[in-house]
């Protein structure tokens, strides 16, 4: 009974996190802020759900598989986010109009003036 309550709490938290992430994906104004909403929440939710799965089955082989999934997502999600964010930035996606500052633009401008 205790374990069922724990699993329920984990699953509900995960689904609420995912729901917030998708609301954020819909509402937020530009690419980097949208990625803030999705990448971490996706990883977090998968970790929570997989923990619930491990608790539910309570078997060694399942737990090993669950740990593999969690580690894999934790390693790959930031790499994918970095790749997409960089590619999007370089291909000229506009940042939000209220963005406070943009040091990366300065950096690329400096580099262009250096090389030319």
């Amino acid at each position: 009974m205790m374990i069922e309550i724990l699993i329920s709490v984990l699953l509900l938290t995960a689904s609420i996190v995912v729901l917030l992430a998708s609301i954020g994906l819909l509402r937020l104004p530009d690419l980097p802020t949208r990625m803030h909403a999705t990448t971490k929440s996706g990883v977090f939710a998968i970790a929570l759900i997989m923990l619930a799965v491990a608790l539910y089955f309570a078997r060694v082989d399942i737990t090993a598989r669950v740990l593999a999934i969690i580690t894999f997502t934790f390693v790959t999600a930031p790499i994918a986010a970095h790749a997409i964010g960089r590619a999007g930035y370089l291909s000229g996606v506009k940042l939000w109009s209220k963005t406070v500052r943009d040091d990366l633009k300065d950096y690329y401008n400096e580099k262009d003036t250096d090389s030319s």
């Binding site: 069922e4 995912v18 690419l31 939710a45 998968i46 799965v53 598989r65 790749a83 590619a87």
Partner: protein, 90 residues
Amino acid sequence: MFEWVIEIVYLLLSVSLLLAFVRLAKGPSLPDRVVALELIASIVAGMVGVHAIDTGISAYLDIAIVLAITAFLAAIGFARFIQVRGMHDD
């Protein structure tokens, strides 16, 4: 009680799938769509986990593993593609 929790979780995940799909269809630029696609992959992997709990069949977890791997590869591939192609109208 527990069945109800599973139902609610399915419902919430489906709603978020729908919202992410709206962003996938709307997305002003290709990177936005890729981000939405990645979130969809995460949601589906989560759904597979919930389904494994629901049915009690642990073999479904393999699907989640494959899904996580392919989502990562797709994201990297799209990133390369965007970088090479530059900015056009989508």
